[in-house]
């Protein structure tokens, strides 16, 4: 596959639901109550249940692996969670190639809430086949 600096990845828009948070809690084995118990989430100062950081990481990883297809491999992936995201609101994953050196490309990746605020920011390194 041909990759150039400045190239944008096709957006991946997710529509997380509370049901999905429960599904993810079970699949990952993370049963922290802030992800499915509204009363508990509010008791620790949150507006309600929030998405798992690692679920958002999973969404952003999907953004990259969908784009790569069989054309390369993910070598490293780093995300910082800068804000909370709630179910019932769209979560848009985006990415851009920042640098290409030989067959290695560096990407900037991020997740946005519906207002366009980057609640997750990160980078990925891929090796192009």
């Amino acid at each position: 596959m041909r990759v150039t600096a400045g190239q944008e990845l096709p957006d991946l828009v997710k529509h997380p639901t509370t049901r999905q948070l429960v599904q993810y809690a079970g699949a990952q084995g993370d049963f922290y109550e802030i992800h499915y118990d509204q009363a508990y989430a509010k008791s620790v100062g949150l507006p309600g249940v929030i998405l798992h950081g690692l679920l958002k990481a999973g969404f952003i990883a999907q953004l990259v692996t969908d784009w790569l297809g069989d054309g390369g491999t993910l070598e490293a992936f780093e995300v910082s969670y800068r804000g909370i995201d709630q179910p019932g609101r769209p979560y848009r994953c985006r990415g851009k190639v920042t640098r290409v050196e030989g067959d290695v490309a560096e990407l900037e990746v991020w997740g946005e809430d519906e207002g366009g605020k980057r609640t997750t920011v990160g980078t990925a390194t891929v090796r192009i086949a």
Partner: protein, 140 residues
């Protein structure tokens, strides 16, 4: 910051470098399928291989530090860094070894925050390092 909180931080700092018990687990097809379904990722590749973040479902990468819960009211995930060396395939037997890499506190906009950095190395049945994970957990 109160003396009690300083004591909590000092106690946690003594855990830097301490390894948690190793976690040994097989990458099961059904578990990988449920994990990919929970993310909503229908890529057929995940019928043979584990998706990039799946390893956290085998071993979360954090060690339970009850002491940390004396600080603040809740946990937040600050970030994760994954490095991949060898694909993780269904049927692999993975051994995860994690340790506390760092503990520090920082003043945040709405009070003090406690940061705990965990590092986990995942190896397969051939003793090859398949991935490394660094995670930042925050008490606020």
């Amino acid at each position: 910051m109160s003396i009690a909180i300083i004591e909590v931080i000092d106690r946690l700092k003594t855990r830097i470098g301490v390894e948690g018990p190793p976690v040994i687990a097989t990458v099961e097809a059904g578990h990988v399928r449920r994990f990919a379904e929970a993310i909503g990722d229908p890529n057929p590749r995940w019928t043979k291989e584990a998706p990039p973040t799946f390893l956290v479902a085998l071993a979360s990468g954090s060690i339970h530090l009850g002491d940390a819960e004396d600080f603040g009211t809740g946990w937040l995930n600050g970030g994760n860094r994954f490095e991949y060396f060898i694909p993780v395939m269904i049927g692999d037997q993975i051994t995860a070894r994690g340790h506390v890499a760092d503990v520090y506190d920082k003043a945040g906009s709405s009070g003090d925050l406690l940061f705990i950095i965990f590092e986990t190395v995942y190896k397969n049945q051939r003793d090859e390092v398949v991935a490394r994970l660094r995670g930042t957990m925050i008490r606020r």
